[in-house]
Symmetry: C2
Amino acid sequence: MKERDLIDRIVSKLPPSPPEILHGIGDDTALLRVRESSDLLVTTDSQREGVHFRWDWMTPEEVGYRLVVVNASDVYSKGGKPFSAFVTLALPSGFSEATVDKLYDGILAGCLEFGAYLSGGDISRTTGGVDLTMTLLGMVPKDQFIPRNGLVHGDRIYSIGRPGFARAGYLALSRGDFSEKLSEPIATFKRPRTFPSFPSWFLKHPFLSASMDSSDGLGQALSSLARSSGVSIVLDSAPDLDYLSPVANVLSVDPRKLALEGGEDYDLVVGVSEDKAKEFESVARDLFHDQSHDQVTYWGRVDSSGVAGAVVTDGTYDIWDWGFDHVGG
Amino acid sequence: MKERDLIDRIVSKLPPSPPEILHGIGDDTALLRVRESSDLLVTTDSQREGVHFRWDWMTPEEVGYRLVVVNASDVYSKGGKPFSAFVTLALPSGFSEATVDKLYDGILAGCLEFGAYLSGGDISRTTGGVDLTMTLLGMVPKDQFIPRNGLVHGDRIYSIGRPGFARAGYLALSRGDFSEKLSEPIATFKRPRTFPSFPSWFLKHPFLSASMDSSDGLGQALSSLARSSGVSIVLDSAPDLDYLSPVANVLSVDPRKLALEGGEDYDLVVGVSEDKAKEFESVARDLFHDQSHDQVTYWGRVDSSGVAGAVVTDGTYDIWDWGFDHVGG
């Protein structure tokens, strides 16, 4: 398989390009036009064989699709929408052409679903396993970016989604436990969903002080939000985890620990000012509960007098360093 | 080494951010502002251990610096200037912290030199060798993008640089031949240069019909230009290769073949309308000959009546498929 033939085949699968893509694949760089009313969002995330995925757990389409979700999730969490994607693919020598096609089928399905146009990339050989990296560009209306560092004293912290579900799926796959009750967690792990409706929703209800996605686990997301904002977060001792308890029971793990340790969830974690909390709960539940059983879960409140970056509860938990760490261990 | 500590250390080395970087490292996405008078350029290229570099040939600083050059070269070749960089780093388990620091020293030196601000990225573990991927964003004044597909009948084709030099360096390193005459080719291979002055030069002398960089070899660049433009290129049978012949002699290879096969050169290959060719030669030589011995070399002319994409000469050469191929082989 020649690099050029592979690129030709990918290009032949692309729909017509939208107006903001002035030059896509086939030149030294892509040429894009950002709307004057918008700023540019950029994120980059990888899926590496043996680190983020295993071939005996996931199909190539699922791997490709997930590559798009993990990036789109970052863009949506900031209040923006994806528009242009770049994919770097590294292949071991002799890798199956049919599998490459399926990887791109998954990538292109994700790009189509989330409005990102595949605009360029790079293909090379690797001495290791298959490695996919995407850089995803989004646009956000000027001054509508929702940062991590906006938490202030008294803010309420919520997750939108089902923190712990993907981790439960990972544990089920690791143990080879395919009980009926674990089928949805497994599906969540293999094919995570994200929140394309969040940016429009936020424009109508702009009362979030901070937002991020929980790709490295809810605990680590809470820690990052607190650290960025220079505040601490005091966790509620009894979050409503009815969505997770049956699953946690099957796996014999503590549901709260499962939710906080998480990882690969791609849920949203947001801060809401105290006086808007009730309104937020109501409008967020209306929108998100209808979609794929996502929950709006209250986790705790912001304390500006505590240790910056600390996430504490009644003394039992200190999750400063919880969650996935992709380098150390 | 924890991912967060590593990121903190990288951030501590960054200079203050320029105004177009509204949010850099430390959020789910970067937030950037593109000038209203400009369009956005995006390119992505990798340096993979065992594929693009070997530790016994290059220092970590050289690897990091080269990662920036290979990307900046694409942006400059389109008439634009880099402004924002994203780096994805994959590390084997237990990889030396000191080496990571040196990789980033090289990356940051390149970013500083070429005006790109390190704005985000991703760090993860890999089961293979070290892998660095950069996505580089540039800005180009609206309607100043120089594409690959602009060649028309009669255009003259030139290279700016020293095609074949990096390949000679690669051959010298492969053979362990450290003759005096090969020291400059080796230096060119390890530490390629690029053309930061090209975009400003082009604004003053806007008579190029097409442009690209020769990262995959001059032959492949000619082939890509011809293919994109739907024309053929007829090579001059005796290009002036005085800059390369002494080196080719030491290596006992044909200088023309060495120049065309090339690879890792990061020279510019451009098309100029026939009536502007003399003026181009004069002004380009004035500018580029003064800098690091770069040459302006005439290679041939564009023929719109030939086979689209073909690069031919007197029958001896057909370089349709010459140059590096990062996948096949």
